[in-house]
């Protein structure tokens, strides 16, 4: 699931929890689900850093390398 899809799902869970007319066992289930999504999002941010590529034009065409920050 993409980051934004997970965010949407989490928002849905929070809205349900905030609505108030929820039985405790259902709320607990939503809590577990929400906590799992938050964990997975945090791991996603930590582990899936996007690549930064550097393109430079040379006589042999475009050279592609990793950008050194």
């Amino acid at each position: 699931m993409t980051f934004n899809k997970q965010i949407e799902k989490l928002e849905g869970i929070i809205e349900k929890l905030e609505a108030g007319d929820l039985e405790i066992d259902k709320a607990l289930k939503l809590y577990e689900e929400g906590a799992e999504i938050i964990n997975s999002l945090n791991t996603n941010i930590k582990e899936n850093e996007g690549k930064i590529k550097l393109l430079t034009k040379t006589l042999n065409g475009i050279k592609e390398e990793n950008f050194n920050e």
Binding site: L10, I13, I24, A35, I52, F67
Partner: protein, 380 residues
């Protein structure tokens, strides 16, 4: 006006604070101003003068200006464009514009005229039409940047991306961003990145003089940007700088940093906000549950109290009924001395009793078996 109670500070502290503010203001760094020169004084090779327009004036200093021949341009009554930055002098809280470059106004006027002509031409061709601008997508995961790989700009963009959305992929096309070859290199970069199916392309450069930024006033570059299928954001110079590419691009960002913020959704902030909201909603739920449990306990107590009352009432009622019943208990009557007469096992009815019938008389102590000798009806 709200009164502020703060301890008095010495003048020197105020002045050094003002100096810090002015020197830190990026918008004042390396800018161009124009006006008319007056009040020129020379001292030790430095040129001190003022620049004015119809409404205001500012003191200016050209350190060692005479050595670089600037004294030929800084002449009383001359209309000039100065490049430099204002400096604040703490001693007397004065501001002076420190000059790094002087041009006659007419010279840049020509460049400005060319800029206006090109702008008019492209506007007529529909390059600036709002309805032709491509929308910047809401969700961006991969961007291209055309800029110099060595400049501060790309570092700023990467820093902002790291802070807000480390998942964002960036493809940097290295290009010079000033000088004669820059327009072609930037155009090549836009064209190349446009073929990579990116969400958005940023064309960026930091601040500089009008001359430095003039490579973004190029007709071919404007055409490439106009024809690109990927949405393009221009981020050239400071907020106050405008170049042709700003008008053609799908969006103009006031600065490269602003462009980086526009394309990097702040997922860290979003996630921490949602995590907080989630924790609060869960806590609220638990509190609500506790409250409900308390409510149930109250209700239970009430019920028990009600039940106890009911039972007591019923007990009293039963007692009363028992007492009533006791009154009519036949054995009680027998004890009082009354007897019961039965004929063939049933309570005897007077009309049915005949002479010779056998009757059982029940008394409290026992039964007497009798034979009827006579039957006398009571006189009415």
């Amino acid at each position: 006006m709200a009164e502020r109670v703060s301890p008095a500070i010495p003048v020197s502290k105020l002045n050094s604070y003002l100096k810090a503010i002015i020197s830190a203001e990026e918008l004042l760094f390396n800018i161009q101003i124009f006006g008319e020169v007056f009040d020129v004084r020379h001292h030790n090779g430095n040129i001190y003068f003022s620049l004015k327009d119809d409404e205001a004036s500012i003191k200016c200093t050209s350190w060692g200006g005479a050595r670089y021949g600037l004294d030929k341009l800084i002449v009383e009554g001359e209309k000039v464009i100065l490049t430099g930055s204002p400096s604040f002098y703490e001693k007397q809280a004065t501001i002076s514009f420190t000059v790094s470059k002087v041009e006659k106004k007419g010279e840049l006027g020509d460049a400005y005229k060319r800029f206006l002509e090109l702008k008019e031409k492209l506007e007529k061709l529909g390059f600036f039409d709002k309805e032709k601008k491509k929308p910047i997508p809401k969700q961006i995961s991969k961007i291209g940047v055309v800029t110099s790989k060595d400049g501060a700009v790309i570092q700023d963009i990467i820093n902002i991306r790291n802070r807000r959305n480390p998942l964002l992929e960036i493809v940097v096309y290295n290009s010079s961003v000033q000088g004669a070859t820059a327009p072609k290199e930037i155009s090549d970069g836009v064209r190349y990145l446009d073929a990579l199916n990116l969400d958005v392309i940023i064309v960026a450069r930091g601040g500089g003089s009008a001359d430095d930024l003039s490579c973004f006033n190029d007709e071919q570059l404007a055409e490439v940007v106009f024809k690109a299928t990927t949405p393009i954001i221009s981020a050239v110079g400071h907020e106050t700088d405008f170049t042709i590419i700003d008008f053609v691009a799908d969006l103009r960002a006031p600065t490269p940093s602003a462009a980086a913020e526009l394309v990097s959704q702040n997922i860290r902030e979003q996630l921490s906000g949602l995590t907080k909201r989630f924790a609060q909603s869960v806590q609220e739920k638990i509190k609500e549950h506790e409250r409900q449990k308390e409510d149930v306990a109250y209700i239970r107590k009430d019920l028990i109290r009600a039940m106890e009352g009911f039972i007591t009432d019923k007990k009293t009622e039963v007692k009363l009924i028992n007492e009533k019943l006791e009154k009519f208990n036949p054995s009680r009557l027998l004890k009082l001395g009354y007897s019961q007469v039965l004929k063939e096992g049933k309570l005897a009815k007077f009309e049915s009793i005949k002479v010779g019938d056998s009757l059982d008389v029940y008394m409290s102590e026992g039964i007497i078996v009798t034979e009827v000798k006579n039957v006398k009806e009571k006189k009415k």
